[in-house]
Symmetry: C2
Subunit: 227 residues, 2 copies
């Protein structure tokens, strides 16, 4: 996208995102933006997190996809309130669409809302959708060089999740190398290794439950310094 | 991206793409646009294709990345002429950048040029870069529902490649299901299963070597009917 055009689109989006954050803060709800490439295991991670939280935290989910409602059906099967957001061609979620989705969720009954972004390691990171926490998901099947090749998402992440780590023996993925690449662009985000049967899911749930929300100023600064 | 803005950007891009195709046609070179998500195995596929072709076809490569030259170094190690295209933040290649890259390659010595697009299952499919053949790569690690969830790339593909099929036993990927999803949006593209040690690489090389170039009219029609 042309830089000047992108700036204009983003300014409008930032206003919508601030509105969302004000709404959520007034209700004591935190929102988590889950980003990563297509097939990086975002929906599976959410399914396992819902089970981890049980009744500890009341969860809602917004499922972002270009088309289809497959992911929303997977979440609904767990009895979790979910709304499907269809971008109709667009490669990322924007704050306006998320705002509409929030109108469908039973906000009074929720402590935390997970928004699964469109599967794309690039564009979603450019758009604030009013979240308090950003998770960047990287599957070990994608290769350990990806944080260097797609730095923006990892630079803006509050937390980095390596997924499908139960399959790592079938790859040449080097966790130290990936972690070094992440550290090059992000000094502070915890890096958690998740996968079926691994302790990372519980660790991530624990971290999310205890994490204080970033406020608007902190979030603006994060977006400014990595633009 | 806003639909009206996207249309304007694409019109300019289409003119550049037609210029490229005219240049390549006048020199008898065919160009292949290799698209797929980050970590879907595009570079590995190209490495193996270069070995398949040997001296049968003289290959050149343009490597598209947002940043870094890791992939270009991998191709250069094979002794193949390669140029790195850095999009500097943009999520896809456009025809203008590809045109600049072609200026660096020794066109008189080449029969076929592979352009590896930015790792992204969404945006690259929206932009004609002057190619004659479009390959959509989907790794079996990404899930068999991806052609349904990200239909544009598969609808515009001249050929669909399932990659990392040597690892399929570690996944729940169903090749029949994926193929059905591809067929829903694309009636004609061959679907080839590739992976280390599998016959698909040779099959793909054979197909590419024998494929007549699509002409400008066919390509315009393909873009029009799937917009």
């Amino acid at each position: 996208m042309d830089i000047a055009i992108l700036k204009r689109v983003q300014e409008r989006n930032d206003t919508d995102a601030s509105d969302i954050r004000r709404l959520l803060d007034s209700r004591g709800i935190r929102m988590v933006n889950v980003m990563g490439g297509a097939g990086s295991g975002k929906t599976s991670l959410l399914e396992r997190l819902m089970l981890q939280f049980g009744r500890e935290l009341r969860c809602g989910v917004l499922e972002g996809d270009i088309t289809t409602d497959y992911d929303a059906l997977r979440i609904a099967a767990l009895g979790v309130p979910v709304a499907q957001l269809q971008t109709e061609g667009s490669c990322h979620l924007d704050a306006a669409l998320v705002h509409r989705g929030l109108g469908v969720l039973p906000l009074s009954d929720l402590d935390i809302i997970f928004v699964e972004n469109v599967g794309n390691l690039v564009c979603p990171a450019q758009f604030d959708i009013g979240e308090h926490i950003r998770i960047a998901v990287l599957s070990v099947m994608e290769g350990d060089d990806k944080p260097a090749k797609y730095p923006l998402m990892f630079s803006r992440a509050t937390i980095a999740v390596l997924s499908k780590c139960d399959l790592i023996d079938h790859t040449d993925f080097d966790i130290s190398a990936a972690s070094r690449f992440i550290r090059t662009v992000n000094a502070s985000a915890p890096i958690i290794e998740t996968g079926i049967g691994l302790p990372g899911d519980a660790e991530l749930a624990h971290w999310l439950a205890g994490r204080p929300n970033e406020d608007e100023d902190e979030i603006r600064e994060r977006f400014a310094t990595t633009a």
